[in-house]
Symmetry: C2
Subunit: 204 residues, 2 copies
């Protein structure tokens, strides 16, 4: 737990960043009742969570979106340090991520890629080294890699996530459809294009 | 609004599906207090939302996860009809999605791909037709495509999303880093590997 902010409050504040980013192109401020409407959290919960940040960001017209967002990020997101990641699984999706430009200004640095096929690791072009899966534990520990992007075939996902957890990875971004549950040892965020399509097509 | 369920309640129930899917590998049931802890929604809100489904899924040990999840999906997700999508932007990421196997059992069918480079649309191998961007409106209307996966360069994202909205697309899954706000005309879900990395690395 981060000082003075419970885990559930932290998780709500992290989700609030997404909402603030959606709102900020059209609004300078947001009220707790708008946040309540969009999230379902009670106004009391929202006000209490935000007060835990210890930042003056409210006025009669609501919270200043930019100030509030920056306050959450500076309190809860790790900035100004190089966060080391690896890509595990270099099929079409993993290979596409090798060249993803968004990493450059993100604070995240890809230190290694892994694939079970020697052919893939030899043929693919990359600015960081690519290794066979057999070297996963050795390289992650040597390079002190904390985060992994998991893009292996679905059948290998749970087994591979367990290996990542066992060698000290703290967070996994899961691009597979497998349900990964590593208890509280490792944080997991799922990225699924099918889930996203279901949400935009839901009957609301 | 779907009959008897307000939009905010629908959005909470859709988010609840993700939580239920995370829990179901380890649990058969879940209580409203666990849901409250994980989401921040009040127990009263959760019980009321679930009661709107009109399905008997609770007992003394909590809600049956599978029954609850299926009830939400059958009430809010569109099933049993072919949902037509397109991929807009066939760079490395868009091209990776062409071969994504997860679509096969999802109910979503990719009907077209678009790219501004004729070279890309001619060279890439695909089971569905690829077209130049100039044909976007014509093909989407002719094929009655409702959903788009947006994977164009970030600088083109907002302009392209506007074109998709203008020709009748109802939902966009946004893989770019651009903030897309089309008011309530089009639903947008953002997919960002950087956002996901920030969440798993946040100090909780």
């Amino acid at each position: 737990m981060i000082q003075g902010i419970s885990k559930p409050a932290s998780l709500r504040l992290i989700k609030l960043v997404d909402l603030l980013e959606q709102l900020e192109s059209e609004n300078a401020t947001v009220t707790s009742s708008v946040i309540e409407h969009k999230t379902g959290w009670s106004r009391d919960t929202i006000r209490r969570d935000i007060s835990l940040l210890g930042v003056q960001c409210g006025s009669s017209s609501g919270y200043n979106i930019k100030v509030l967002k920056d306050a959450i990020k500076s309190r809860l997101f790790i900035e100004n340090t190089e966060k080391k990641c690896c890509i595990v699984g270099l099929g079409t999706l993993g290979a596409a991520l090798i060249n993803f430009e968004g990493f450059s200004s993100s604070g995240f640095v890809i230190k290694a890629g892994f694939d079970s096929s020697m052919n893939r690791t030899e043929v693919l072009q990359s600015t960081f080294p690519l290794y066979p899966m057999s070297m996963l534990e050795k390289i992650i520990q040597r390079e002190q890699i904390d985060y992994a992007i998991l893009a292996v075939p679905e059948n290998d996902a749970i087994k591979t996530a367990k290996r990542l957890s066992d060698c000290g990875v703290k967070g996994i971004v899961n691009f597979t459809n497998a349900l990964i549950n590593l208890k509280d040892k490792v944080r997991v965020e799922n990225i699924s294009v099918i889930d996203a399509l279901q949400k935009v097509s839901a009957k609301i």
